[in-house]
Symmetry: C2
Subunit: 311 residues, 2 copies
């Protein structure tokens, strides 16, 4: 059994995107085993247990990931993750992977796969709402699939916006107003907001949106009126209804589960698609265990390994 | 984060029994978080993911355990397990435990807790059906709670029976017929049988039975008529109905879920008990995640640790 400490170092993001895309294709074809995430509530947060088996990538395992919003006060990440990989033939645990950074990257990869298949254009102005780790991961991953001509970024903290703009200055990356950031071809929203911050009238026809921030009940970033104008694709219907961008609008009766246009997996295999160049498309991301296995498959070829005795 | 390689070495079985008993008490009081086990099917077996949180023992985590019947052909155990322990305050993974042997021991401990509370006598003749690792674990754990005057063992393989008898010769331990093994005060059944091997007429009044072997749909060791004569206690009703000793009789209409006398947790807290000295009591064990956390709590004070970098 091996412990992988820093598998995110030097990962080829294009390969990660391809692996995650392949996992979504299998999901679209019904070829994966992936029971719903199991939640356990702890005093100051929770942890989720995410088992899955992806036959086509020959990988099976479990990600264990926590969400503890107060952690940064004591210098720890809010989200930390381990992925355990089992040998398919014997069930023996063969790898334990520090998956904290990989969790950011696999979410970025899902956004890239969605943008690749749903963006109306191949050369884009990219709007970014939020300036945290996931905003960076989305830009990095999407840049491998589409040509980014310009980035327009908005965030609440001007200092964070400035640092983000500096990091991606080569595109160039411009700090702008919220409304101006929405004037783009592909918009990525990555905030933990619990009230809509993106107004429907700010979004023009033909825009694709990666709605990443909402990943728990009560969270939402988009004006529900925008959902009604758009084709909404989800990673997994049950998870999206429970904790995705559509969870609050559905619970308030502003959106219905039967209005979901399809899954990203169905888009990847060509079963579903954007209805035309003028459509607004939304990818509602909640995060799937198969994404974690797909990136683990690549990650285990990288980084430092520590041999551990087992059994 | 620490990896614990051999926590089973030198464990105090009396302490393990106490810790597991405490976990069952909390279960009986409804104080634990323990969603149902999640099964993933692999080509030649399966693995189960078992998350839980035990507030009173201040421990939370996940056991991942496989069942691969063909493993012994290549020198690997059929069952192998890892337990991941998370820090309660931050959700950070703090321990990874090789839990293969601990899985045997925590099942033994549950049997000991059941025998302690349900046996009509404190000094017993112990009948043992089966001679594998779990049969040994049951004897070792029960011996810490009751005075064993004699062991009567039966198994299909005479060589294995002889080795088992030699291992416990101090009691003494006698190889006997199946029927003679059933002539006892506490009977432990530990086979992977899929047809009843214990006839109802072999069991006299006042006997307590730990039915350990049946842990998956289709498995059963006891004559269904015996269930109807007995008070059947389970570790967890949902798991027992799905995969415990009662699963086949229930699916065939020979037993009803509403006939279950109670849970072991309810017995431990005194809410349920054997109805009298002449009653036949049965403990139907399927294995709970809280048992794994209870033994992990003790095990982390033992054995060799390897420091791993995280996060």
């Amino acid at each position: 059994m091996q412990y992988f400490t820093d598998t995110d170092m030097g990962l080829d993001l294009r390969l990660v995107n391809l692996s995650v895309e392949s996992a979504f294709a299998d999901h679209g074809r019904g070829l994966v085993q992936m029971p719903p995430k199991v939640y356990i509530t702890l005093p100051e947060g929770d942890f989720r247990t995410m088992p899955a088996y992806l036959p086509s990538l020959s990988i099976a395992g479990v990600k264990i990931v926590n969400v503890h919003p107060n952690n940064p006060r004591q210098g720890l990440p809010t989200v930390m993750a381990l992925t355990i990989i089992l040998d398919l033939a014997t069930g023996q645990p063969v790898a334990i992977i520090n998956a904290t950074r990989l969790t950011d990257m696999r979410t970025g990869a899902a956004g890239a796969v969605a943008a690749k298949h749903l963006s109306a254009k191949k050369e884009i102005v990219l709007g970014v709402i939020g300036t945290g780790r996931q905003a960076e991961a989305q830009v990095a991953a999407i840049s491998r699939e589409l040509k980014i001509r310009e980035i327009r970024v908005w965030g609440r903290n001007p200092l964070h916006v400035r640092k983000f703009a500096d990091r991606f200055m080569e595109y160039p990356c411009m700090p702008v107003s919220e409304e101006k950031a929405c004037d783009c071809d592909v918009l990525v929203t990555t905030t933990p907001s619990t009230t809509p911050i993106i107004r429907s009238e700010w979004i023009r026809e033909g825009t694709h949106i990666n709605a990443i921030g909402a990943d728990a009940p009560g969270k939402e970033e988009l004006d529900p009126a925008l959902l009604r104008r758009a084709q909404v694709f989800v990673d997994d219907p049950a998870q999206a209804i429970h904790s995705g961008e559509i969870n609050v609008p559905i619970s308030h009766g502003h959106y219905r589960a039967d209005e979901i246009a399809g899954t990203l997996g169905e888009v990847v295999i060509g079963k579903k698609r954007r209805s035309g160049p003028e459509a607004i498309t939304i990818f509602d991301s909640t995060g799937l265990a198969i994404q974690d296995l797909a990136i683990a498959k690549i990650a285990m070829q990288h980084g430092r390994k520590i041999e551990l005795p087992f059994p």
